[in-house]
Symmetry: C2
DNA sequence: TCGGTTTACGAAATCGGTTTCGTTTCGAGT
DNA sequence: ACTCGAAACGAAACCGATTTCGTAAACCGA
């Protein structure tokens, strides 16, 4: 009795496989309380578990959600993965994950591999450069974009309220007495998220009549640090306020500042996106725009489930849901780096 | 022509489905170069992709590897996931991931969910408390443990050479002039890894005739910090050397030290396990025992593949591989925190 | 009591590949 | 030319569930 099949269970319970199947999926066609109990008893006793492969074949549904993440080193991604995992599990789904490491080729490969593996739907945190492939995928199965949008549009997107978060950070710096604000970005990062934050930043400055600019650091290496050095020195004594556009930039900012000394230069205030665990340790605590990763994850899975249900329920593409942009509010963690 | 089936391809190419199947899996029964080309052409033209569910059902193999991680916030875990993802993809496998968040109940649930979903094998970074369930799982399908062992033994394990890494950190501190060494651990962490490192630490101390002890911090909150404070103050001026047993403890250490001042007290040297990106920024760089996550991941997948091949190839459990413990050497990153 | 409608359930088709087994073809050896 | 073995390929069974369709029993109002 190595591996039980549904027909074995049926035989033991004195019913047909169809009835056992109905029991397993508690289908509309109800059954006698007595039959139900008899089947339950046999399953309980034998420890029978239906084979997913057979179920998948017939029902053409796998309960597997494909997830493609751009950069798992980013705490945003790992927090997201935890949230997605929990939300999916709550719906009886498992996650198939792939990590592109910001390599478009790997991302493209992951796309086809996950689809071929039978994912019911896809969650994509794209690294860019695959807009057509992603659009094509979205034509074949439900896709929800995470954080980063693609050019073509027309695909669901879940993201943070970046504009308001930028405003919040500007608020914090202004309140701390900063007279001139810089948003630090990296040349290699040309993501829609960066662009959105940069736009919001300049809008916010002009709205408030504040001085400032977007400073783009050269990629890696000393050049960027040098540029940063100049920026800081150039405004020395002028109550400078810096915002790192993401955790990676903040890391580089921290390195650069470490060369200047162990604590913040007088009058310098800083703030950053992405709530790394170290943010409340460095500089006695860094004011941070924290995203609500758990809620974002829940919304993503929720939306994807809706689409999956539509696809498997309706006949064709009749009642397709209109693409939607979902913004999940984050919040500002006020810490010592923007105190007066 | 919405969805092609293998028989459609066969018809178009003028061969039987069996031949197409042989082509898809390039099976021993070779075929004419001409037939091969004809099939290839049809597949190329139609963009046909075999349905995984059907293949899985018949071959009872899914090319899916289940991964259960205890704590994704830990950079060790996320680096591992990236490595596993890459190694699996190289073998044409995808990852199904679950995250227990150090909750044994969630871990147990993930175990059954991944097995039910049809995983060919499991990679488990256990949080403890499920030793029997994991042993049971290992009896039903290939399992490789990651980093943390279970009591019963008899299951493959891939881990770092913790004893040597501990020795390396002790080396670094001793060379930096520390006279008394403390290994900082947390009360809540009773993992085999922590125990192994603690044992290695005391062994190493007595081997070298050095003074020192294992200090267990109370969980979270101020108590632990207080204890740490005392420890540091108690030895003030005595050339103390501290080792954080993992990244979490190091975080708490950093917090505690931040209360004492922005830079390390005179004569205090520190070192830690786990190479967070911040480790070369804090205190001008913290000497770190870095694990070779990429190699660990590769070994895990390699070993798991071996077992999967054995299971699907041999008839029964005749030629079962003997359980193996694989140690992957890490290395010490020497940084400013242990300079003289 | 009878026609009509539910309700509970079984028989058999079905999902789309893989695999076994058998047949045909082809080339080499004598 | 004839046998023999291997290579190339096809027919059909098979994996284990779900789903459709049909039927017998139960129920129900008139």
């Amino acid at each position: 009795m190595a591996q039980m099949r549904i027909k074995d269970i049926a035989a033991e319970a004195g019913v047909s496989p169809a009835t056992v199947s109905r029991y397993l999926n508690n289908r509309p066609g109800q059954m006698t309380e007595e039959t139900r109990a008899r089947i339950a008893a046999v399953i309980e006793r034998t420890g029978y578990r239906p084979r997913a492969a057979a179920r998948n074949l017939r029902s053409s549904r796998t309960n597997l959600i494909g997830v493609i993440l751009a950069d798992i080193a980013n705490p945003f991604s790992s927090a997201m993965l935890e949230g997605l995992s929990a939300s999916a599990a709550a719906r009886g789904c498992s996650l198939m994950t792939a990590i592109s490491g910001n390599d478009p080729a790997k991302e493209a490969e992951s796309l086809t591999r996950l689809i071929d593996a039978g994912a019911d739907g896809l969650v994509v945190n794209t690294c860019g450069g695959n807009d057509e492939a992603i659009a094509a995928a979205a034509g074949r199965l439900p896709v929800v974009l995470l954080d980063r949008d693609v050019a073509d549009g027309g695909i669901d997107l879940v993201t943070s309220n970046n504009r308001e978060l930028v405003a919040g950070l500007v608020d914090a710096l202004a309140a701390a007495g900063s007279e001139r604000l810089c948003l630090l970005t990296e040349a290699s990062d040309d993501s829609p998220v960066r662009r959105e934050r940069a736009e919001a930043f300049t809008d916010e400055l002009s709205r408030r009549g504040l001085a400032g600019e977007v400073v783009t650091l050269a990629d890696g290496g000393a050049t960027g640090v040098g540029r940063l050095d100049e920026t800081i020195r150039g405004y020395a004594g002028k109550r400078l306020g810096l915002i790192a556009v993401n955790g990676l930039v903040f890391l580089r900012l921290t390195e650069a500042l470490a060369q200047l000394g162990p604590s913040l230069p007088a009058g310098l205030k800083i703030a950053t996106f992405d709530d790394y665990p170290w943010n409340h340790v460095l500089f006695g605590g860094v004011t941070t725009a924290a995203q609500d990763t758990l809620t974002i994850a829940e919304r993503v899975v929720e939306r994807l489930s809706e689409r999956i249900d539509v696809v498997t329920t309706t006949v064709g593409d009749a009642a397709k849901l209109a693409p939607k942009r979902i913004e999940v509010p984050g919040h500002i963690e006020h810490r010592a780096s923007t105190s007066r």
